[in-house]
Amino acid sequence: MREAAVKIQGLTKAFGANNVLRGIDLDLPKGQVTALMGANGAGKSTLVKVLCGVHPANSGDVRLYGEPFKPGSPSEAIKAGVVTVHQSINDGVVPDLDVASNLMLDELAGGDGFFMNKRAIRAKARKLAEAIGLDVDVQREVSELGLADRQLVAIARAMAHEPKLLILDEPTSSLSAKEAARLFELIDRLRAQGVAILYISHRSSDIKRIADRIVSMRDGKISGVFEGETLDYEGAVKAMLGRAMSEINLDIPTAGEAILRLEGLALRADSKPFSLDLRDGEVVAITGLVGSGKSELADVLYGQARPAGGTMRLKGAPYAPRNQAVAIRAGVFRTPKDRASNAVIQGFDITKNITLPFMGRHSSAGFINRRSERDTTQRMVEELGIICQHQSDDIGSLSGGNQQKVMVGRWMAEASNLLVLDEPFQGVDIQARRDIGAKIRETAKGRATVVMVAEMDEAVEIADRIIVMGDHTIKGEHRNENIDLDKVLAQVAGAGESEQIHAG
């Protein structure tokens, strides 16, 4: 291996009781592109945030060309030569300023003097833009530029610091193929200049095109490093998702009648239509990488997006919800992922959080019936084993796992036709995960259940049937009995051409 630009040893980071990084050992060689893969919650973004100075590490050692590197702030990291281009492009640019000011922003923010020398700024900016092949008038406002050019502006801005390590966080997620090609040419040039590049992405095409090595992360640790002539992308996906070693023995029932039938459903105009039956009493896990179409499918089921084509039938009747309120009335419920921003009402107690969607059931003539609320909450606290002093405890006083139980309980308190659980095990300890999983299976009769999960062992732990999504369509489906995980993982990784699927 080449000389390491960055050497990370035993890096740890915890937020409260939540250990996010549990000892990262990683070298990033100069002049090479290291692709970093990891599922949601594996700790990728925390690692990036430690490296770019947003969070301090708890322990461990980071060296940049042999020198200790402990940035106290993002600007310190930049000065030391570690430059990051963040995933959401608009974090990297100021839309209302012109290109020149954007390129020289760090100098403006940290520079000397009071007045700006506009001419000098423009001249410097032009040079930077030229160096990376950004072909725009530096006096144009960034808000007039397209996404790709904005991204190039963000990267060019980073280049002003002559970076030793360049971190690119999902840089192609909003670029077209042509725009991405331009980005790759730029990365090739930077690599030739000896910059170490940490490239975070899930796209196999990106990784195959650009990466010299792949590093997989899982549960806050490096779970695999793949180098050499031909990169083992599938191996990296397996290392990232983990081999399921479940002690849970599922008793897979025969599924009942189809409750929801998807026929020729196209999530995007250019994606392949698929059909799928979701049956009474059945728990279906849908898995796939970020961008595989899982979230889009959940949105369509819950009335937050319209499919590009195809039809849905709920218990025989056409089902095309305009919005979530219509979906809820039809008995289609969804627990969203990322509970902190999408589900938890801070300042409300457990009861108020649980009864939120069904206030109508707990009130007459608009007035709330506290007894009915309390009874429902008591039932959910007992059934899900929510650990609390009292049901009037503020939601913020609960642990992450218990908060998640409350969020699941919110939608299990009423009978549903279809329950969609989007990443219900995110940020949840193993005990809470088992409790929630067991409850989902136990109550499955009478409804169809869909669980969206990225991690394979979660899917194996909970599902009767596992469906793999990719490219916004179904890539494979497997009954969860003597399941061939290698085949599932190959489908997740996008190898193994998709077979003709008509599920159900």
């Binding site: 979906a327 969203p336 921003s341 409300f348 939120l356 969607p357 007035f367 709330i368």
Partner: protein, 329 residues
């Protein structure tokens, strides 16, 4: 510390009452109580509206000008159009609801930030209320821009709203406006605390996205909050007109700041750390007592503004820095 946060403001208010009673000769008299009640009631009614918008994490800067518009409109209806008190009140309530509706639609449909939308509405109303009379106050016998002399009068039942005082142990103690405040306060409190609509509005204020994903019609509740605010502001304006007995162009300047201060002080009452009706009314009372006390100590008007501002800052520190749930709003 917990106790200080919870009861600090009530203790401060009690201390203030004792201080003013000892420091001035006439503070602890029924007459001064009437003054306090009278000044508190209109501020308090407007502050209830501010509370409704704060609950959905919004803000209404147009309440002061909505109230003064109602003041001018009710005068115009009775004095120029020579219509009855009932019509005057109805016109004002409809105007308040319309202003709230427009505010709400600007915010939820046009995506104008709440502060800017209601600031724009404030300027618009300040100008609009002066156009029909070319900037003059409205009273019986005034000359209109077209040369006509107005002959209408303020109906006696309208003036009753502003001037009558009920007996309560002592003769003429409780002004009608105080009864209106208590009734409206109870209604808004019941709506916010006891009905599912109030619950959902608090949910929107805490996490709009989560409330929406739980099936709440967020836009409808936000518009409703601004309409409540507009209607309550117009009630305040009606009571002000009834007290003054003329469409005084210069009245109501302090209404916005006083009522916003009352609602924000309400955050600190009993450590609620969120907008709440009970706290708002206590906040309005607090400001009323403070102003009356300072007036009786012959403090000039500008020191009153200073003290009011200082109290507000202290109340906000109580709410946000000292209580652990400071980030909840």
């Amino acid at each position: 510390m917990e106790l200080a946060i919870k009861y600090g403001f009530l203790a401060l208010m009690a201390g203030m009452l004792i201080f003013f009673s000892l420091a001035t000769e006439f503070f602890a008299t029924p007459r001064s109580a009437v003054f306090i009640f009278q000044s508190v009631s209109i501020t308090g009614i407007l502050a209830l509206g501010v509370t409704a918008t704060l609950v959905v994490d919004g803000f209404d800067l147009s309440i002061g000008s909505t109230a003064t518009s109602a003041l001018m409109l009710s005068s115009y209806v009775m004095v120029v159009w020579e219509m009855s008190a009932v019509w005057a009140v109805l016109f004002c309530l409809v105007m308040g609801a319309l202003v709230g509706l427009v505010n709400g639609l600007l915010i939820v449909k046009m995506k104008v930030p709440d502060l800017l939308a209601t600031l724009g509405m404030m300027f618009l109303l300040i100008g609009l209320q002066r156009i029909p009379t070319e900037g003059r106050s409205i009273s019986t016998g005034m000359v209109m821009p077209d040369g006509r002399v107005t002959e209408g009068v303020f109906a006696p039942e309208f003036l009753y709203l502003g001037r009558h005082k009920f007996d309560f142990f002592i003769e003429n103690l409780i002004p009608v406006s105080v009864v209106v405040l208590l009734v409206l306060g109870f209604i808004v409190w019941a709506f916010m605390e006891l009905t599912r609509h109030g619950r959902l509005m608090y949910a929107i204020g805490s996490n709009e996205r989560a409330a929406e994903l739980a099936g709440t019609n967020v836009n409808r509740y936000k518009v409703l909050a601004y309409m409540i605010s507009g209607v309550l502001a117009s009630v305040g304006g009606i009571l002000l007109a009834a007290r003054l007995g003329r469409g005084d162009i210069a009245s109501g300047n302090n209404l916005l700041l006083d009522s916003v201060a009352a609602a924000l002080i309400g955050f600190a009452v009993l450590g609620a750390a969120k907008p709440n009706v009970f706290g708002t009314i206590i906040g309005a009372l607090f400001i009323g007592i403070l102003l009356q006390g300072l007036t009786m100590m012959n403090a000039p008007y500008y020191t009153q503004d200073f003290v009011k501002g200082a109290v507000l800052v202290v109340a906000l520190v109580f709410t946000f820095a000292l209580s652990k749930r400071g980030g909840a709003h």
